[in-house]
Symmetry: C2
Subunit: 400 residues, 2 copies
């Protein structure tokens, strides 16, 4: 241990070493944190009842090694849910239960990519997916996102031979854009003709506040090129570590083998509880309640931002999900501002940190999932103060 403390030792310089550590000041769970949801509205009563039931029934069936793809009844329940709610075309045996969507992305990278594989990556995009692909040694090709989503033609021009594309078509992270129908068809056409894979991350598509949810891209795929990723972290609770991956039928066995090599199988008890929660209809009821709740939170945040910061920040993106993008209308250094906001306990994500190349725009990705309506005005006022103080000190500096 003495040696260890002398200084940083040489670790691998391999793919795993290229996973970036988060900014040290991005700590804590203050207002606007993207990982926070309304946990105070978690369906405690139903889960306490189901957990107690499964605790009483606990027997050998839940204690041995399980199927690497997960518990049969949960796979059935998930398949039924994504077919009905998301328009995903699948049978239960195409579903793999995973420890949240992050493991789905990791698993996909392991099975389909190799060191050096090129992947279309939304620019700006989601850092968790970036980390999973980079850890597999993939080379990410930043492909611009415009008002229709990933610019497929630009991607093809940049790297026609990419092996995969990562997209968030229902609610692009972080811009909130909905991918247009024509772009979806273009992307599928490219995948079919070039033999590439599409990884569709449908992380918060359950929440749309102005219209019915838009069906998943996977439902349009006639060539089994789409890997569909979903999660219960946004619609139930991240601490359960429950997500799913729907893969084409001929890939199931390979995914099962590679998942075994990663951590064998998901834990059984929580799968059994979740399967019951879905099957008895409690999940559908919970989702309806949460949709109404988050609609209110979003509306309150948008109002507050307009009132307090109308001149400085412009809200973008669909009325959907658990976060919004607030672009710095007159430019600015979003990292420096987010750092100052963090000193005041606010947990904003600078938009520039979502870019692989130089940021085209500056702004903040603001989560409202964990912000109760009465808290919103004061959180926004605190953010407004940070931005105004920074502007004032910039003016002083340039004047002096």
């Amino acid at each position: 241990v003495a040696t260890a403390r002398r200084g940083a030792r040489v670790l691998s310089s391999g793919p795993g070493s290229r996973v970036a550590a988060p900014d040290p000041w991005l700590k804590g769970a203050g207002p606007f944190h993207l990982g926070r949801i309304a946990l105070e509205r978690f369906p405690f009563a139903a889960w306490r009842r189901l957990l107690a039931r499964h605790a009483r029934r606990l027997d050998e069936s839940l204690l041995g090694y399980g199927d690497p793809a997960g518990l049969g009844e949960l796979r059935e329940a998930i398949a039924a849910y994504v077919r009905t709610a998301r328009g995903v075309v699948c049978e239960a045996d195409q579903v793999l239960v995973v420890n949240g969507s992050q493991q789905a992305l990791d698993l996909v990278s392991r099975v389909l990519l190799e060191p050096g594989s090129r992947v279309f990556f939304e620019e700006p995009g989601y850092w968790g997916a970036r980390d999973a692909f980079v850890a597999a040694g993939a080379r990410l090709v930043p492909v611009p996102v415009d008002s229709e989503g990933l610019d497929v033609k630009a991607g093809i021009a940049l790297c026609p031979s990419a092996q995969a594309a990562y997209v968030t078509p229902s609610h692009q992270f972080p811009t909130g854009v909905l991918m247009s129908a024509s772009r979806r068809l273009e992307l599928l056409h490219w995948a079919r003709t070039s033999g590439a894979w599409i990884v569709e991350d449908d992380y918060d598509s359950e929440y749309r506040y102005e219209s019915l949810p838009v069906a998943a891209l996977q439902g349009l795929d006639r060539d089994a090129r789409v890997l569909y990723v979903g999660t219960f972290s946004k619609v139930l609770a991240p601490g359960l570590r429950m997500g799913y991956l729907v893969v084409p039928p001929d890939l199931v066995e390979r995914f099962r083998v590679v998942r075994w090599s990663m951590d064998i199988c998901p834990p059984a008890l929580l799968q059994a509880v979740l399967a019951d929660f879905l099957a008895e209809g409690s999940f559908a009821r919970h989702l309806r309640r949460m949709r109404a709740l988050y609609r209110e939170r979003r509306a309150a945040l948008v109002d507050s931002l307009r009132n307090e910061l109308g001149g400085l920040l412009r809200v973008e993106g669909e009325r959907a999900g658990l976060h919004l993008l607030a672009v710095l209308a007159g430019g600015g250094n979003d990292r420096e501002l987010a750092y100052r906001a963090a000193e005041d306990g606010l947990r904003t994500l600078p938009l520039s940190s979502c870019y692989l190349a130089a940021a085209k725009r500056q702004g903040f990705v603001l989560g409202y999932g964990g912000l109760d309506v009465p808290e919103i005005p004061s959180a926004v006022r605190r953010l407004a103060r940070v931005l105004r103080d920074a502007r004032a000190s910039r003016r002083e500096a340039s004047a002096g």
Copy 2:
């Protein structure tokens, strides 16, 4: 899907693709299965009580994203346990809670290895570790195991520049050998002078039937070169997916970052229950009971094998763990025999499948963790019949 069914499509040819699928006939959970333990003796009452308690208490603290290294109270309890029971030198903040030892091996591979890294691998050795390292792109160097464990000098002669060594010093898998003190010191010396890592997999060291458990290799390490892996799959239940990894202090942060990129953090509820189970002393009591139980099972299996198969099979290895090695005294094709045994519902693992290079010896790795004493004689008689029938048909074939 139509396209998908036309034939196997091209997946990655990268590291993940090199993870081997298990033999298709190695299915089911028949007698001698290595993954089976005495689940009928699981501490149901204590777990039902603790699960019910945590279900009642369920609150937001267990539902949000957690520390990638695991719940603080569980890390404390594990650190206290491995210090006392295994002689591991560590503080709680060096412990990472993982989804079973397989994830520990995967995580270690990701952080410390890169494609092409050379790793000393016990020959014969454990296929789960092989899969994890191969999935990271490592090149395994098969290093012979003799009656003192890994032959360190042979390893150095084969590949002096290896970046890591994987060992099971307390109870080598599959031979059951205990690594000698001098080999432990040789291995540590090599790691220190060459800057290599040692991955110590202590998967079933709690069970020694003739003497006190032998302390972990990690406790002898003065240079922070050992990554220590443990699991609750053998001592409690595999379906809980609970294991741990103890890493040198200066590596904790890197492990935390890479684990985040894999699946963020372990599920909280089961960690809270397990922490209580350890802290209240129930685990220590359970372990004492199980040690007595498996000692009986082992003795009964050894007796039965001597009675029924004394001339054909030679039992090897320490009186420890949950499996033994039965070597085919006169040689033979263990794969073909294991296949025939599988047709009869027996789940023996052919020794030859544990070799990376050509097998030096043939035999069977037999698990007795899941075999109740009264079942043992008939299971052994079934195995004896398979071996005798095979011998008889071989004689007929060579006579005819």
